[in-house]
């Protein structure tokens, strides 16, 4: 299913990430997964939270540059070939992935996929019988 991912621009400075986790903790917002991309001077924190709308407002208020993007959240079997099947479907259908990250949760692994056509990714995966976690499932 399509979900909202939050991206936060961070300068490479000690303590910046802790500041964000602290703010989210203070407001009772749960992070289910995240990744950090970095360059020499700055980093990009991308994360999935249980309340993206509130998290965005809070962080913006604190002066962070925050952006929301649509990403696909997909469940794949936590076994050999599980991820491969999903990726194969996408590449066979000519979908380019901008970036992705994942976490294992019990029998499944959950993959967060960003591409420039998230709706199309959803439709292709659904057509090929892939499964999307229900809200709350595998959080």
């Amino acid at each position: 299913m399509l979900i909202k991912q939050l991206s936060v621009f961070l300068e490479n400075k000690t303590g910046r990430l802790t500041e964000i986790t602290g703010i989210l903790d203070e407001h009772g917002i749960d992070i289910s997964t995240f990744s950090i991309a970095d360059s020499t001077d700055f980093g990009m924190l991308r994360m999935i939270t249980d309340d993206p709308c509130r998290a965005e407002n809070i962080l913006k208020e604190k002066g962070f540059a925050v952006k929301t993007t649509d990403v696909v959240r997909l469940a794949v079997p936590h076994s050999p070939g599980g991820l491969h099947g999903a990726l194969r479907t996408l590449s066979d259908n000519g979908i380019a992935i901008d970036y992705m990250y994942a976490y294992a949760a019990g029998e499944n692994a959950v993959v967060v996929i960003r591409s420039d056509a998230p709706e199309r990714v959803m439709e292709i995966l659904r057509r090929h019988g892939h499964r999307f976690p229900e809200p709350g499932e595998n959080d």
């Binding site: 991309a37 360059s39 990009m44 991308r46 913006k60 002066g63 952006k67 901008d98």
Partner: protein
């Protein structure tokens, strides 16, 4: 509207002869009342009687900021302390501040030139003017204040800072004119946008901005944010404060009130007087000032003068926006760099805002230039590659404008300090 038609539209030859008379009187006064000037003139073998017309001005010695420091605090005053009714002082970044004094008559003259300036922006007694320049030792606040009262406008003496209150009064009182530094105007514009308001919620129609260099791009941005016409006012405390020159509605440079402040452009190296149209250092002789009449004061500001007719009907000489103060000029790897150049690059790009900080340092005997630029919410991409491409574009544009390469560092929004007064744009860590 022209406040003082007689002076502002005076025929050029008559203006020159008026300047000559006033110069003669001034030289006479300082020769007798300021020991520093008597010595200087005697060293050059000049007697007051040798000064007959304005053409004799170029023979007189210069005054520099260092002379003011050496005679700190009152050494260059030409009247006894009892006649001084006001003191202002600059926020000297190094050492002692520069002190300037005013007699009652000086304050009246200052109010007159600021009234002329305000009239150029169409300000009348029907206006409500919010003076958000700092009040205090800085000349901006009180200078605008007295001029605005002379015009008869309703003055809100709010001074700088306290942005929330600025917006509240602007809205509740229906301010029609805003006077402050251009960087604070742009800051207020942003604050208005953030408060979910836009210019149609306000009654502002004109802005009078000065005390720091700003670019045409910044003018367009401020005009857009605040829904006003933005006018440039120029001044420096050593000469009087704001109101030395001001833009008329034709906006073809700033008319200098040269019946009081005689301008010259000189070559900063040879000190030779340059003709109209040539770029050089601006020099002023405030001939009518009683308390602190400086002889050929070197401003360090680089600009050009033009004496051709202006559409507004005024005959006063016009000065271009200053390219930079020769004090602000950085020499990096042998190249002259002005902060205003960096600002125009950022404003021209449409994907960056002029919130920047220039950091100059020296590593292994080589100057390094780093420009920090804030990431903007509306232009920000969550892809590292795109942000790196933006860094490259800024780098490329800076290189082609300045002629030297710079390291570009994107920083988080609102981490570069905003100021209610003059913005700090440069950190130079090189040891002199």
């Amino acid at each position: 509207m022209i406040w003082n038609q007689h002076i502002e539209c005076m025929e050029r030859e008559r203006m020159r002869s008026l300047q000559g008379e006033r110069l003669q009187e001034m030289v006479e006064r300082i020769y007798h009342n300021v020991p520093f000037y008597r010595r200087k003139l005697q060293d050059e073998g000049i007697e007051p009687a040798d000064v007959r017309t304005i053409d004799d001005l170029r023979r007189l010695p210069f005054t520099t900021k260092q002379d003011l420091r050496d005679n700190y605090p009152f050494g260059l005053f030409a009247v006894p302390q009892q006649d001084i009714v006001r003191l202002h002082a600059s926020s000297g970044t190094t050492g002692k501040p520069t002190v300037v004094g005013y007699t009652h008559h000086d304050i009246l003259m200052w109010s007159e030139v600021v009234a002329r300036s305000l009239a150029m922006a169409g300000v009348t007694r029907s206006d409500i003017i919010q003076v958000a320049y700092g009040y205090g030792l800085f000349t901006g606040g009180l200078g605008l204040h007295y001029g605005a009262e002379k015009v008869g406008a309703s003055v809100i003496p709010i001074s700088g800072g306290n942005t929330k209150k600025q917006l509240q009064l602007m809205q509740d009182f229906g301010s029609t004119v805003l006077a402050c530094t251009p960087s604070y105007a742009s800051f207020l514009g942003e604050a208005i946008r953030e408060a979910g308001m836009d210019s149609s919620d306000l009654h502002l129609r004109a802005g009078i901005f000065g005390a720091e260099p700003w670019t045409e791009e910044m003018r367009a941005e401020i005009e857009g944010l605040l829904g006003i016409k933005a006018y440039d006012i120029y001044g420096l405390s050593e000469v009087i404060g704001p109101g030395v020159s001001m833009e008329c509605s034709s906006q073809r440079g700033m008319h200098i009130f040269e019946d009081h402040f005689i301008p010259e452009i000189i070559d900063p190296d040879t000190c030779e007087v340059l003709p109209y149209g040539d770029l050089g250092e601006l020099v002023f002789t405030p001939v009518t000032k009683e308390a602190l009449p400086l002889m050929r004061y070197r401003t360090r500001d680089l600009t050009r003068l033009h004496a051709t007719a202006c559409d507004c009907g005024r005959t006063l000489v016009r000065m271009e926006k200053c390219v930079g103060r020769s004090d602000d000029m950085l020499i990096i790897r042998g190249v002259n760099v002005f902060p205003s150049q960096v600002e125009s690059v950022l404003l021209e790009m449409n994907e960056t805002k002029p919130h920047y900080l220039i950091v100059v340092d020296r590593e292994n005997n080589l100057d390094t230039l780093e420009i920090r630029v804030e990431v903007e919410d509306q232009f920000f991409s969550d892809e590292v590659g795109e942000l790196e491409a933006l860094q490259e574009r800024i780098k490329h544009n800076i290189q082609s404008t300045l002629g030297i390469s710079a390291r570009i560092r994107l920083v988080e929004p609102r981490t570069i300090e905003r100021s209610a007064g003059k913005a700090q744009r440069v950190i130079d860590n090189r040891t002199p």
